[in-house]
């Protein structure tokens, strides 16, 4: 592990045991976050991205969810080995977290000020009430809330969704964590509010010099905010890469399909969207082979029987796909005219957008 690695997830497996069976929510996920960088974790519902975040914070929904294996290395320390008491020293202090629904993250019967003061008191247990109140006001101003002094006495229901999310951001960075996890932080927000909140996250990250793990189902949101992107599918990370690389030349067929399946706001209009067949898999049964193979246009026999090894590139990019394994027996039956004709016509479209 090189020195600039802040967090390394190695072969993480988190299973949820239910009466109806075991759901392999995270099933061998690996990625790294470097110091000061913003990593976007992209995937569809059920791909395991939220469960991964909860496992990092060690707030996986126990007792049903169990971390069955792997490592979560924060600055070299394995968080899986830590006791719950030791984890309290990590949560908030070293890793901050922002969740999707800001109204559910805030206590509805406490004023915004008192909730902020609660977070700040943990940092300075001896500070006076007046001092903490002044700091709470500064924290609100920092996240761009006007009239901060009077807003301290407001309750969450008096705030809009965007303002509540700003308050949770203020709390998350109050103790200067080295890593901020934001799990779908803008999904409940309107487009214009979302753009401003993403701007705020970026500003806070630069000011604090912290790393950001931004989870989203929307590749567009991640594209604008993150240095690197990790794509999850059915509990595994199928591709990681520098954002520009992922956007211009995605390696994994799933990433590629995701990009061509969405309509664009600019550039030439495509008459039909590229269509991924089938539905995201259920992650109940242990599966053999690549999880995406049943929906992949380029899958061959090998893909269906053996999970591809992860290919590492010199700049740290990774991809788990047989098409990229050097010297591997070519997936028998795979069409080597990459990609489909339809995608070919869309490739020019995506390039048009990039200008």
């Amino acid at each position: 592990m090189s020195n600039d690695t802040l967090l390394e997830i190695k072969d993480l497996r988190t299973y949820v045991h239910m009466r109806a069976g075991t759901v392999r929510a995270v099933d061998g996920a690996s990625f790294i976050i470097r110091r000061g960088e913003a990593l976007g974790l992209v995937g569809e519902s059920g791909s395991g991205k939220s469960m991964t975040c909860m496992a990092i914070m060690r707030v996986e929904p126990r007792p049903a969810a169990v971390i069955e294996g792997g490592q979560i290395l924060l600055e070299g320390e394995n968080l899986i080995d830590k006791s719950l008491e030791e984890m309290q020293q990590v949560r908030g202090r070293r890793i901050g977290m922002i969740l999707q629904d800001p109204l559910n993250s805030l206590n509805p019967v406490l004023t915004i000020g008192n909730q902020l003061i609660e977070a700040l008191r943990l940092l300075e247990p001896g500070a006076s009430k007046a001092d903490l109140r002044r700091k709470a006001r500064a924290a609100l101003e920092r996240v761009g809330i006007t009239n901060a002094a009077s807003r301290l006495d407001s309750y969450p229901f008096e705030f809009s969704g965007g303002m509540c999310q700003r308050v949770t951001a203020a709390m998350a960075v109050a103790r200067h964590p080295t890593l901020l996890i934001a799990d779908e932080p803008t999904t409940a927000l309107d487009v214009t509010t979302q753009a401003r909140f993403l701007g705020l996250l970026d500003q806070l990250r630069r000011e604090e010099g912290m790393s950001l793990l931004l989870v989203s189902h929307d590749l567009g949101i991640v594209a604008e905010t993150c240095d690197r992107v990790a794509v999850m599918y059915a509990g595994r990370v199928v591709e990681t890469g520098v954002t520009t690389q992922i956007l211009s030349a995605p390696r994994h067929p799933y990433t590629r399909a995701l990009m061509f399946a969405v309509p664009h706001l600019h550039g030439p209009r495509t008459k039909r969207l590229y269509q991924i067949r089938g539905e995201p898999p259920s992650v109940r049964a242990p599966t053999v082979g690549c999880r995406f193979a049943p929906r992949c246009d380029q899958a061959g026999d090998l893909c269906r029987v053996q999970y591809p090894p992860t290919v590492h590139y010199a700049n740290g990019d990774t991809v788990a796909c047989w098409l990229h394994v050097p010297d591997a027996a070519a997936p028998a039956g795979a069409s080597h005219t990459l990609p489909l004709q339809r995608v070919d016509s869309v490739v020019t479209d995506a390039e048009g957008c990039g200008k």
Partner: protein
């Protein structure tokens, strides 16, 4: 140009709040003086953020709600006040697909009965065998196996449920569909399947679409004409490509600039967005409190829709005082 199918003229909907402390502030104008035309075979989109009134407008057009002002004509007939048989006839022509298919499908009905229900409600004399045949046809057309006929909604995935909702809407062979955020609850990999299906169905059956969505890229893909709403009023309307390519109204500009896209943009112009949505107002432009171009007049007088745009086609209109005076500079004033 095709004849108008749906004409919305000066439609408004006010809600009276009972428990508001301050007097004089107990009326919410959810929709205010909205007018547009949907031509046969065309796709019109309505865009706006939450609180813009787009869903209230959809409910009014579907006559799930009555407008408090204005008139709605469908194929020349006034439907704003239609009752009984007239309303029934209207619903044979206009059907809806909603965002959340889980709550739009009755959990206690089987798929076959869900899809057949609109026809049964319309008291047609179609025989049960004929109904079964049409259900199977529609299931096949929306890409579902006829074997799910006897399933319940909870046994299906989100994408499958939305296909069932589309099949149901087509059972009475309507001429127009109102699509209220039809794909926003779906995963990205399933979304394109449903969008392609909607476009194919439109081509095959000459359907007219009124699509409500907050995602401009999806509206661009499906619609040819776009209506942008802000706090109950139309701020801009015109051909989709023209609006998204050269947005005129300051709010539309902000909306286009804020939409996520698969590219990195440095220094995006988000200055217009330094504040949050305010409440509705009777005086002046609803967007004025957030607008960097706003002048005194904007706070006093409601701007009317006027023809704008380079090509100055009568179709492209925006409601903005500042736009009428001069064309706006690319960046907001300091």
């Amino acid at each position: 140009m095709n004849p108008p199918l749906l004409e919305v003229r000066g439609v408004g909907k006010t809600f009276v709040l009972r428990h508001q402390r301050r007097r004089g502030h107990n009326i919410v104008r959810a929709v205010d003086n909205v007018s547009f035309v949907v031509r046969k075979g065309e796709s019109v989109g309505i865009a706006g953020e939450s609180g813009s009134g787009k869903s209230t407008l959809a409910r009014i057009i579907l006559r799930l709600d009555r407008p408090t002002d204005g008139e709605i004509r469908f194929a020349g007939e006034d439907i704003a006040t239609a009752e009984g048989h007239e309303l029934m006839a209207y619903r044979r022509q206009v059907q809806a697909v909603f965002q959340n298919s889980s709550s739009a499908l009755s959990p206690r009905m089987r798929i076959r009965d869900i899809i057949a229900e609109p026809l049964i409600v319309q008291q047609s004399d179609t025989s049960p065998a004929e109904i079964d045949r049409r259900v199977d046809d529609l299931l096949g057309r929306v890409g579902l196996s006829p074997q799910i006929r006897l399933s319940f909604p909870h046994e299906l995935s989100g994408g499958q449920k939305q296909r069932v909702a589309i099949a149901r809407s087509l059972m009475v062979r309507p001429s127009m569909l109102v699509l209220d955020e039809p794909v926003s609850a779906l995963d990205v990999s399933v979304r394109s399947q449903v969008l392609n299906l909607l476009l194919d169905l439109q081509e095959e059956r000459g359907l007219t679409y009124l699509m409500i969505a907050h995602d401009l890229a999806i509206l661009r893909h499906v619609t040819t004409y776009l209506v942008i709403m802000y706090l109950g009023r139309i701020v801009e309307q015109g051909p989709t490509e023209e609006i998204l390519g050269a947005p005129q109204h300051p709010y539309t500009r902000a909306l286009v600039a804020a939409s996520p896209r698969l590219e990195r943009i440095e220094n995006r112009v988000l200055a217009a967005l330094d504040s949050e949505v305010t409440s509705t107002t009777d005086d002046g432009c609803a967007y004025a409190p957030r607008c960097p171009w706003a002048e005194a007049r904007c706070h006093e007088e409601v701007p009317r829709l006027m023809v704008v745009g380079e090509h100055a086609t009568a179709a492209h209109m925006a409601a903005c005082h500042a736009l009428q005076a001069v064309s706006l500079s690319e960046t907001p004033p300091a």
